[in-house]
Point group: C2
Chain length 116, copies 2
């Protein structure tokens, strides 16, 4: 059998989809660019779609993740709320610990013959 | 914060995609119906797509998962090879153990206030 590697995806659901790799990436893009629009563009996502995904996530999480910044040199932008940043970090830490655990498990179930 | 539940997906990659929930479902459909065509239909997948996904999986796994049965009352069909059945069972057991571990972890990271 070929050497196999595991890739996992973790999504959190409340009433509906609350968080996952796509929303995490969107938030990280806002951290990087200060803009929901630019973050969406970097993901080949329309601004409307990104806005809608974000609002759905906030509703299902019960947390405000992003807030508008008014004015300033660029005419405004977006940033994560303190709760949004905390949750993002918590999700990323969960994913790191989950992947470490899963890779050990995958080694038991699928690892093998090639000594890796 | 709302009560959150975790949903995870586990995919195995060799050179390319080797196994995952879709292929597992396709194989279980073949066990149930004795037919790749019927299994694909139950998943709203075209026969050609199912055949292609199956062949790609076998190539990336290095295992033959399914074989044709010639003749018989129904004019032939498909069944899992012994290696295919063994791998499917191994994948399902992995998923069960992985989910048990992840749910405990998710309880630590996201569980909470509502006592569940």
């Amino acid at each position: 059998m070929e050497k196999l590697t595991l890739r996992s995806q973790f999504r959190l659901f409340g009433e509906g989809k609350a968080f996952g790799p796509g929303i995490a990436e969107l938030l990280e893009g806002i951290i990087r660019t200060g803009s929901l629009r630019q973050s969406a563009m970097a993901m080949d996502m329309s601004y409307n779609k990104a806005w809608s995904v974000l609002r759905q996530s906030e509703a299902n999480l019960g947390i405000q993740l992003v807030e508008r910044i008014m004015g300033g040199a660029g005419g405004g932008g977006s940033r994560l709320t303190p709760e949004g940043l905390e949750f993002l970090q918590r999700y990323r830490n969960f994913c790191a610990e989950a992947n470490a655990c899963l890779n050990r498990l995958a080694e038991q179930y699928f690892g093998g013959g090639d000594g890796q």
